[in-house]
């Protein structure tokens, strides 16, 4: 069937009916939330188990079950591989993997798919696992990709039924309180897991720093936790711990950031009470810095900035340029220290931040957001999941949630990546519909969604290089021969859900080239 964007999506997945995307704010939830079984753990029971193996046995994990993880250690995570290796040794098969995200460090998952330990995936795949799944015929049912808010919603709705949640915790007590910003190897908030911990059949906290009761702030609470395991290593905070913030030096990227900041200034939104989301990408960081400079110069105090937090946002908080940071992920040590020490630097879980089926999302309070893309098309649709060659290489992250929420959503992109155009006639995969994308900022000019004449007028008055997307595309295309396109088979390797649980697009196996 075709959804509201005209994308062909399947009517069923794994035997269950799907819902087609109807529009960014069209669906209304019905019924009640799912819930886990009741259970009581008495005074005398000890939750602490001697090993991961023992914990896997205690949970009763068996063939066909669903296990989940968070990605706060990003590419330094050790837990996913350790659990799957253990499952493989125990001969457990046919698992459904429901992580918040997989990274290149999880390349061994490919082997576990080959040998049948993992047969289904619902979660973001950054890198090799995505590339492997793209080849088709690897999973028993199409993978499902969801946004941060979409995943939270799906778990609450019972769309994902997690049997065992494994939660890597940089610090925990033996009663199951756990914290991501404490301990020997803090990785930043682990609040992506709070929904897993509350809805999974069994919740296992795995820590490399077992500390006296009560560990706090308790992002993961004792009342949700079935078992606690102490291990030597859960993850290498690597880039998080050692990373010093480096602003891009690329003239093109800085130019795009400058234009994006100028567009924010021209939008008229930069005044007291301003709020914005700044990611950790090169262009986004530089744009955030320029906006901060403008706020300082004009004496503007913003209400809040939304993270992934970096030194840059922390400095803005310390200088009083924003009154608060709402933060789901930390990208450097400064951000982690600030989360511990500054009461105005708040941990925000994806339910608070982005859940469509809720009574309010923080993204809806945003004035401006800077986001990226692998492709953008002439209808302002954005792809962040696949490359032009059809390979599924990235997760959605918060892209849909933030784009849908912010009053002005800006996509900051270069027009060319090597010989490949970023602005195309039609995106390979729609992640975020053009309806919720207001401005495309490129080094060759700024394009405004025709629905936002107000912004176009303001930008033009301010002397910004306003062009149509067609004009920008034509300028960039002069430098390259048109690339050919992949030919897709009918086989669907993954579904892209919109944040409300409807299917916005399907990723198909690449069969050849035009």
């Amino acid at each position: 069937m075709r959804n509201a964007l005209g994308r062909e999506v399947p009517e069923t997945r794994a035997g269950k009916p799907t819902r087609p995307f109807m529009g960014p704010f069209a669906s209304t939830p019905e019924g009640t939330k799912a819930a886990r079984r009741q259970k009581t753990i008495g005074r005398s029971e000890d939750k602490l188990l001697p090993s991961l193996d023992a914990a896997i046995e205690a949970t009763g994990l068996s063939d066909g079950m669903t296990i989940s993880f968070h990605h706060s250690f990003r590419d330094g995570d050790r837990l996913v591989n350790a659990v799957l290796d253990s499952c493989a040794r125990k001969g457990i098969k046919d698992l459904r993997l429901a992580p918040t995200a997989l990274f290149p460090v999880h390349a061994p998952v490919v082997e576990h798919i080959r040998n049948g330990v993992v047969s289904r995936i619902e979660g973001s795949m950054n890198g090799p696992v995505g590339a492997f799944v793209s080849q088709g015929g690897k999973l028993r049912e199409p993978a499902v990709l969801r946004s941060h808010g979409g995943r939270w919603r799906a778990i609450e709705a019972g769309d994902i039924d997690i049997d065992v949640a494994f939660i890597a915790a940089p610090q925990a007590d033996r009663y199951g309180n756990a914290c991501g910003i404490c301990g020997k190897t803090p990785c930043g908030p682990i609040s992506f897991s709070t929904v897993d911990a509350q809805y999974a059949g069994k919740t296992v906290v795995v820590t490399n720093d077992l500390a006296p009761y009560p560990v706090h702030p308790f992002e993961i609470q004792q009342g949700w936790t079935d078992y606690v395991v102490a291990v030597d290593e859960i993850g290498d905070p690597g880039s998080i711990a050692s990373g010093t913030l480096r602003l891009t030096k690329s003239p093109t990227r800085l130019h795009i950031a400058r234009l994006a900041a100028d567009a924010v200034i021209a939008s008229g939104m930069l005044k007291d009470g301003f709020s914005f989301q700044g990611g950790a990408g090169g262009i986004s960081l530089a744009a955030t810095k320029y906006v901060g400079d403008a706020m300082k110069e004009a004496g503007i105090v913003g209400d809040f900035a939304m993270g992934g937090a970096t030194t840059l946002l922390v400095d803005m908080l310390r200088e009083g340029l924003v009154r608060a940071i709402l933060d789901g992920q930390a990208f450097d040590l400064d951000a982690i220290a600030s989360l511990r020490d500054d009461p105005a630097h708040l941990i925000m879980d994806p339910g608070q931040y982005a859940n469509y089926d809720s009574r309010g999302c923080s993204t809806y309070m945003l004035d401006v957001a800077f986001l990226g893309a692998t492709e953008v098309d002439l209808a302002f649709n954005v792809n962040v999941n696949t490359h032009s060659d059809g390979q599924l290489l990235h997760g959605i992250g918060g892209h849909q949630d933030v784009a849908a929420g912010a009053q002005v959503t800006m996509i900051t992109i270069p027009t060319l990546r090597g010989r490949l155009p970023v602005i195309v006639d039609e995106v390979t995969t729609v992640t975020t519909p053009g309806d919720v994308v207001d401005v495309i900022v490129t080094e060759r000019g700024v394009a405004v969604n025709p629905a936002r004449d107000d912004l176009r007028e303001r930008f033009t008055t301010a002397g910004l290089p306003v062009k149509t997307l067609e004009e920008i595309k034509a300028e960039a295309d002069r430098f390259i021969q048109p690339p050919r396109k992949p030919v897709f088979s009918d086989e669907i390797v993954a579904l892209i859900e919109w944040r409300d649980g409807t299917v916005i697009d399907a990723v198909r196996r690449v069969e050849g080239w035009q």
Partner: protein
């Protein structure tokens, strides 16, 4: 003849290997771009009249002009092809006004595609594609070709090519570059009127040969030696093609054995401005090497503006906004200029000759300076100049 290899593995570049032999094209690239590169290679072989070439292209994200330039160079170096015809290339480049705004001339290395892409987008008044100091001798040949193809691809507002001194690689630079029709040629180490006249004569010959009206190509001498500074007056007045004269402090301080300070450069700078003004042309100051020191760059820009310079060199796009800021008239200057112009226009309408503001005579130079200030101010507010 053995195999010739041109290009690098850097992002945005490609490596092309050519040897005489059966016409075979091998493309080493991602499947999406393979057919496009093959088509481009075939087209280039055709344009270079190369029939007997075995070609291999390994792509690292090179744009079309880069691939074509690398292939042309390799074909010619291996003796199986000629210079590309202009049939597919060419920007119809209109000459620019002699006295246009030239606050910034941005130096761009002629050998590095990654630093060339999009360089026209940063708001510099002039782009200066460099074949001299930023290009090592081993890359002089390939860089000339690369720069010509870039000139054929991008419609710059005003684009110059800095050639090597005519006594070294400059002559070959000119022959290769002129079909690209840059607005002007930048002549480094200009030391005498003869240097300029010699260049002008060669330009005239090459303009005729390339079907360009004689006299179209401008000249920017760069004065950067003791001798050049002492001869600045004759260099500035040597030829009508000269519209702007630039100062190069790095070479100058080395030549005279001074340290680079405001004081040590003051004589040369003032000499240059006086020479330029006496010849009715513009003066452009030297570059500032410390890219991250915006404050010092702004100070230096304001200083040379006070000395009378019209512009300054930039080596990084990040410096452009700072330099333009330094050349921007202050609000007080704009206010004063507006008063001068309005009083003068009123007087003219009433047929009054001599006029004054606050007891100060408004004569023609004052009026002209006021008009220029307003023009600058208008230009600054129109283009944000990033």
């Amino acid at each position: 003849m053995s195999q010739v290899q041109i290009g690098t593995e850097n992002k945005g570049d490609c490596i092309v290997r050519v040897e005489r032999g059966d016409a075979v094209i091998r493309i080493d690239a991602k499947p999406l771009v393979e057919p496009g590169l093959r088509h481009l290679a075939e087209q280039t072989l055709d344009r270079c009249k190369a029939a007997q070439a075995s070609v291999e292209v390994k792509d690292f994200g090179a744009l079309d002009y880069v691939v074509t330039a690398r292939l042309e160079t390799a074909l010619r170096e291996s003796g199986v092809g000629e210079r590309c015809d202009t049939a597919h290339g060419g920007i119809d480049r209109e000459p620019t006004a002699a006295d246009r705004l030239r606050r910034t001339r941005l130096y761009v290395p002629g050998n590095n595609p990654r630093l060339q892409v999009g360089i026209e987008l940063h708001g510099a008044d002039c782009i200066l594609l460099d074949l001299e100091d930023s290009v090592p001798p081993s890359e002089k040949v390939s860089s000339r070709v690369l720069v010509r193809h870039l000139l054929w691809t991008v419609a710059f507002d005003e684009v110059w090519v800095r050639i090597n001194p005519l006594a070294t690689y400059g002559e070959e630079d000119l022959v290769e570059i002129l079909p690209g029709r840059p607005h002007g040629i930048c002549l480094p180490k200009a030391e005498s009127a003869e240097d300029v006249v010699h260049l002008s004569q060669r330009l005239a010959e090459l303009e005729s040969a390339n079907g360009v009206a004689v006299g179209t190509t401008k000249i920017m001498p760069i004065v950067e030696t003791a001798k050049g500074v002492l001869h600045a007056e004759q260099i500035a007045a040597a030829d009508p093609r000269v519209v702007v004269m630039a100062f190069g402090a790095e070479d100058f301080t080395r030549d005279v054995g001074s340290k680079r300070t405001r004081e040590s450069l003051l004589f040369a700078r003032s000499q240059l401005v006086a020479a330029a003004r006496s010849a009715g042309i513009q003066a452009s100051d030297t570059v500032f090497a410390d890219v991250d020191n915006r404050e010092a760059l702004l100070e230096e820009t304001q200083h040379v503006r006070e000395l009378g310079f019209d512009g300054k060199g930039a080596i990084n796009p990040r410096q452009i906004a700072v330099i333009h800021g330094g050349f921007a008239p202050t609000p007080a200057e704009i206010e004063h200029a507006k008063r001068v112009v309005s009083v003068a226009e009123e007087a003219e309408a009433q047929g009054i000759g001599a006029i004054a503001i606050g007891g100060k005579m408004i004569d023609r130079p004052v009026l002209e300076r006021a008009r220029r200030t307003l023009m600058l101010a208008q230009r600054m507010s129109a283009g944000r100049g990033s």
